[in-house]
């Protein structure tokens, strides 16, 4: 069974049963989520640019079991207009550990693209997150569905929710807002925009999460 499928199943199972007090004390808890978004991608050239707009739905799942982390996500990229970037689906699978003040996520993303040679593209995916009292820090390589090359973000929990704002190397920003609604249900808004070499990507998604707020 692939790590991704395992992660989804375990994540769903974890959400079905309320997390134990010990689990909630950890930095992250089990959670599933769905979102809808738009991606703009392309490259900047002198006086012009090449750009594509894509519809980007995603599902995510994360299971935390006595500190052991399994997580996965699937992000679709469906072009809004023809003649540009191909339809693609990116799966992410990561394993790791969640402590009380830090979490480590290590894995890979695999992207399948329609009518492309090669059809599959595999990249590593890493994330390290730490909490330091009132705020936290996270760093990631091909994080966020494998779409953000390298980021360093500040994490701020507030009574209104959990917010993060980060720098994307070499030039860009990434921001996430997790706002609880009722009980285990929350709203997640996420956006990034960055430039890599001469290329650019921007994404905005809005979705729901269920499970641990973080």
């Amino acid at each position: 069974m692939s790590p991704l499928v395992l992660a989804l199943l375990l994540g769903a199972d974890a959400v079905a049963a309320p997390p134990s007090p010990a689990e909630t004390e950890r930095l992250l808890a089990s959670q599933v989520g769905v979102s809808l978004g738009l991606t703009g991608s392309g490259y900047q050239v002198h006086g012009s640019r090449w750009g594509d707009t894509l519809f980007s739905p995603a599902v995510t799942a994360r299971g935390v079991f006595k500190g052991f982390l399994v997580e996965g996500s699937v992000l679709g990229a469906f072009p809004v207009t023809s003649g540009g970037a191909a339809t693609a689906v990116t799966g992410l699978g990561r394993l790791g550990y969640v402590g009380h003040r830090f979490s480590l996520h290590v894995g890979a993303t695999a992207q399948w693209a329609n009518a492309s040679t090669p059809a599959f593209q595999v990249l590593p995916s890493l994330r390290l997150e730490g909490s330091f009292g009132l705020a936290g820090l996270s760093v990631g390589l091909f994080d966020f569905h494998g779409q953000v090359p390298l980021h360093l973000s500040a994490e701020v929990p507030t009574r209104f929710g959990h917010f993060s704002l980060g720098y994307v190397a070499p030039l860009g920003v990434v921001a996430t807002a997790d706002v609880p609604l009722t009980g285990a249900l929350g709203v997640r808004a996420q956006a990034w925009a960055y430039q890599l070499f001469d290329s650019q990507q921007a994404l905005f998604t809005l979705g729901l999460t269920y499970g641990g707020a973080r």
Binding site: G40, Y43, D52, A85, A86, A88, T117, Q121, L171, Q200
Partner: protein
């Protein structure tokens, strides 16, 4: 930060594309959207049509890769090619039949200077005669000084990797300008510096047959830029004859091969590598020649970043050779960092190149920001039986009209090619000619259906 904001706005404003895919433009008025005095003609290059040249390609054509595969498909050699060296009268008649008002041809360095400092005046006189007779017929000669082939003595001294070759090329160009200058205003110093370097040092398909030498490839391109700068200065010093009476004795450019590099997907790697490839291949050339800034960068491999004295403002116009589009899928194990391919189902030429007329409009729109006029110095299709070429020509002229309507300052369109040619590593199989050449029967020239298309468009261009 401005560029980043542009990125964020990609949601709202993608690059507009003319949408010419699948269209079959109406020939009734095509050409009427081009500016008055527009140059509309055809091109060749010496080694590809003249025949009888002895240069570095002669040796390359007669040798093989280490595995025994001939360097040229089917083991062909250029040989007599279309024998244009001896059939200029025929070719001139073809240009007249087309109603062309410009002809882009190249002079062969190895023919004019077979040994360093030894000049073949008879050959020079023949080129001078060609230029004179073209002008007498109302056909503007557009002369390319270097189109891929090197005299063997230049190859033996290291070609364009060595500074001595820059000096030798400048001396050669001065000599040509002294003799052709009274009849020629439009100069193309160098043909496709990027293609020459990629084919010779990255793909290993052309001499010197090096593979994966990314850094050397960049050095060759940079040296070709420097060579262009020196030659442009020399041309302006030597050619002070205003042959066509427009007040300008020299109109100088390179012929820059551009390709649309389109990311296969929206993944950061595909878009990143497509952008990197685009900058290296497409953008580096006008940037260097207009601003003097040579910037050629492949992360971790090569980073040339210099301002070259004398290079800024070295072109009076920008020559654009446009043929096709490549879809870019990142592959970090490949020397070019990607696999480039054509999407299934796309219309293609007989060489398998994507037929994508929108790309021409995109480049003409994009490069107008450099503030120099543009001329399409090559655009054409390998078409085995000539049946695709009329539509190809119509679609690309329509793309050109779209760009002009959007403000692009385009002065001319030169179709590749006037006649079938020796297409380098592909040999004689690809048929690019508006007039096909029967290599089996006396190299007779026969009009393809696109000749009528060309004439119709020409008749609609405002006088």
């Amino acid at each position: 930060m401005t560029r980043l904001l542009f990125g964020a706005l990609l949601f709202l404003a993608c690059a507009p594309r003319p949408g010419l895919d699948g269209t079959d433009p109406d020939l009734a008025t095509l050409g009427s959207g081009l500016p008055k005095g527009f140059l509309f003609g055809a091109a060749t290059a010496a080694h590809q049509v003249e025949g009888g040249n002895v240069n570095d390609w002669t040796d390359w054509e007669n040798s093989s890769f280490p595995n025994g595969t001939p360097h040229i498909k089917l083991g062909e050699v250029s040989g007599l090619a279309a024998d244009s060296w001896n059939r200029f009268d025929d070719d001139l008649l073809l240009l007249e039949q087309l109603h062309a008002n410009t002809y882009r041809f190249s002079v062969e360095w190895s023919r004019l200077e077979p040994q360093k400092g030894q000049w073949n005046q008879a050959a020079m006189d023949r080129y001078v005669d060609w230029a004179k007779r073209l002008r007498q017929k109302g056909i503007e000669p557009m002369v390319t000084l270097w189109h891929f082939t090197l005299p063997k003595w230049v190859r033996d001294q290291g070609g364009f990797l060595e500074d001595v070759t820059l000096a030798d090329f400048e001396a050669f160009s001065r000599r040509v300008a002294e003799q052709l200058g009274p009849h020629v205003d439009w100069w193309c110093t160098i043909n496709e510096p990027n293609v020459y370097a990629v084919k010779g040092w990255l793909a290993g398909e052309w001499p010197p047959g090096k593979k994966g030498e990314t850094a050397t490839q960049a050095q060759v391109i940079a040296n070709l830029f420097r060579a262009h700068g020196r030659v442009a200065k020399a041309l302006r010093e030597v050619d002070t004859w205003d042959a066509d009476g427009d007040g300008k004795a020299t109109l100088i450019s390179v012929a820059h091969h551009v390709r649309v590099f389109q990311p296969a997907t929206s993944s950061p790697l595909d878009t990143g590598i497509a952008g990197l490839t685009d900058d290296f291949f497409n953008e580096s050339v006008p940037r260097a020649l207009v601003t003097g800034h040579i910037k050629l960068s492949v992360p971790g491999t090569v980073d040339i970043d210099e301002w070259t004295p004398g290079l800024a403002g070295s072109i009076d116009w920008l020559g654009i050779n446009y043929y096709s589009r490549d879809i870019v899928r990142a592959d970090l194990g490949d020397p070019s960092l990607s696999k480039q391919f054509v999407r299934p189902g796309r219309p293609t030429s007989s060489l398998g190149w994507d037929l994508y007329p929108d790309g021409l409009a995109l480049f003409l729109t994009r490069f107008q920001s450099y503030g120099v006029p543009m001329v399409i110095t090559e655009n054409g299709i390998a078409d085995a039986d000539g049946s695709q070429r009329p539509k190809f020509l119509k679609q690309h002229v329509l793309a050109l009209e779209h760009a002009v309507a959007n403000g692009a300052n385009v002065k001319g369109y030169v179709h590749w090619a006037l006649i079938d040619n020796f297409e380098w590593a592909e040999g004689f199989t690809p048929r690019f000619g508006l007039f096909t050449v029967d290599y089996e029967h006396g190299r007779a020239r026969t009009a393809t259906p696109a000749v009528e298309t060309f004439r119709a468009i020409q008749s609609h261009i405002p006088r």
